[in-house]
């Protein structure tokens, strides 16, 4: 990567950090929901531990699922929000007459997605350890790999969602909040893929998240790190990234053709 590209990406990261730094409600919002979710599912787990043999044998599986699902959600939101901030502030016109390339904006959004995810999830991960003596990281470096896969999947979906917003305007911005939930039933977050009807299982295996959550359960329940599941997640993630980048590039070209880079936000 050339120095100029890195400088421009860092300039945008600086812009989004200024925004976060200047607004404590934004920081609170990042951490609020993951923490509430974790506390609720922590108590649910405590209840089930006394009533379910399966959960008793793998007490952290529900909390782990909640924490990792939030990685995916925050990863996608963190990415999409960068673009939405530019659209809300009608700043895209200024950005794209500067030497900033679209892929540099994508790179900055990826960095911010990672930062927002870490800022948002850190309190819930700490609280999970304090309240329930549960730490995802205690399951080894494989969990970090799964964390990374979910973040990358969030980027792929984030690029597609952003492309939709560029193409259809801010009327489509709610997609940024709800799109990820379409993946929840088939991501095998709280139950194995085998639970799904036969016809739906191939669809589930077309999501990186299904490999990740199956892999998480293999680690937590069986104490086995499944490299094959990690490899599956990586391969499907590459496909998601290629699709996301292609759709984004097409939407950007279309916006340049129909003048939406100037009009968006109005």
């Amino acid at each position: 990567m050339k120095a100029g590209a890195a400088r421009r990406m860092l300039a945008l990261v600086r812009r989004y950090m200024y925004l976060l730094r200047g607004s404590w409600p934004r920081i609170l919002e990042l951490a609020y929901w993951p923490t509430v979710q974790m506390v609720v599912w922590g108590f649910v787990t405590q209840f089930f531990v006394g009533h379910s043999t399966w959960v008793a044998n793998a007490a952290g599986v529900l909390i782990g699922a909640v924490l990792l699902w939030d990685v995916l959600f925050r990863g996608q939101m963190g990415f999409s929000l960068c673009f939405l901030e530019e659209m809300w502030s009608r700043n895209l016109g200024h950005l794209f007459v500067s030497p900033l390339r679209p892929w540099e904006l994508i790179g900055a959004a990826m960095i911010m997605s990672l930062l927002r995810t870490c800022i948002g999830l850190a309190p819930s991960w700490v609280l999970a350890w304090v309240l329930f003596e549960f730490s995802v990281l205690s399951y080894g470096p494989g969990v970090v790999a799964f964390f990374t896969c979910l973040t990358v999947m969030g980027w792929g979906i984030g690029m597609t969602v952003t492309a939709m917003v560029i193409r259809f305007g801010l009327g489509a911005e709610s997609l940024a909040w709800v799109a990820i939930f379409a993946f929840a039933p088939i991501s095998a977050v709280y139950y194995p893929v085998a639970t799904l009807p036969g016809w739906l299982q191939p669809v589930a295996w077309a999501t990186p998240s299904a490999y990740v959550f199956e892999g998480m359960r293999a680690v937590m329940v069986d104490g086995v790190f499944r490299a094959d599941l990690l490899a599956g997640a990586v391969v499907v993630n590459v496909i998601y990234l290629v699709i996301g980048a292609t759709v984004f590039a097409a939407a950007f070209a279309s916006a340049r053709s129909n003048g939406k880079l100037l009009q968006v936000g109005e």
């Binding site: 300039a11 812009r15 200024y18 700043n91 016109g93 200024h94 950005l95 794209f96 340049r256 053709s257």
Partner: protein, 250 residues
Amino acid sequence: MTTPAISVRALTKRFGDITAVRGISFSVEEGRVSALLGGNGAGKTTTISMLLGLLTPSSGEVRIHGVDMVADRYRALPTMNFSSPYVDLPHRLSVRENLRVYADLYGVPQPRRRIDELAGALDLVELLGRRTGQLSAGQKTRVALAKALINRPRVLLLDEPTASLDPDSADWVRTYLEDYARAESATILLASHNMAEVERLCDRVLMMRAGAIVDRGSPNSLLARYGRSTLEDVFLDIARDRASSEGEAA
């Protein structure tokens, strides 16, 4: 023969059935200040957007210092900048933060120094720590101008640069732009409805109507051609179709 700073050939932009810009051609020599004049919907903003590469032309060519803006715009963009009332700077960032982000995007050396320099020149010193969204319209216009000058552009495109400014501030900004163009040998193309501004700043005027350039020349030559004493009267003649087309005029 020197390469013009801005060269436009047969530039056309269609949005579906609507033709916003119709095969216009013009060039602006380095160090000159020119104006695009025309009523609402004449095609000025669309033309400026195509010059910046923000909008892809349907056909035709735009070159900035010889660089093709459709195929190779990233070579030209570091030497250009623009301001427009239709594009905002992020409201929640302070003026200094906004200018710092754009200084970094353009790779401005010693950004703090450049920001302080512009703040002094454009009377923004007291505003640097304030959120951009809290500023008055006139203050925002001055901040937008500071952003447009942050990289000392050789080509500056300004859409209504003194909109929302009181007469005193507007005069001050015009003086600054005159000095800047002279000191930096910068080429400026501005779209404006303010005829006094155009008469004062511009060597050359391009009159637009319905997406076409219907006349062009220096302010004095246009006044003489239309037999009018002010550019505003010339503008009204053209806007109300009391003028011959460019071909007939020439």
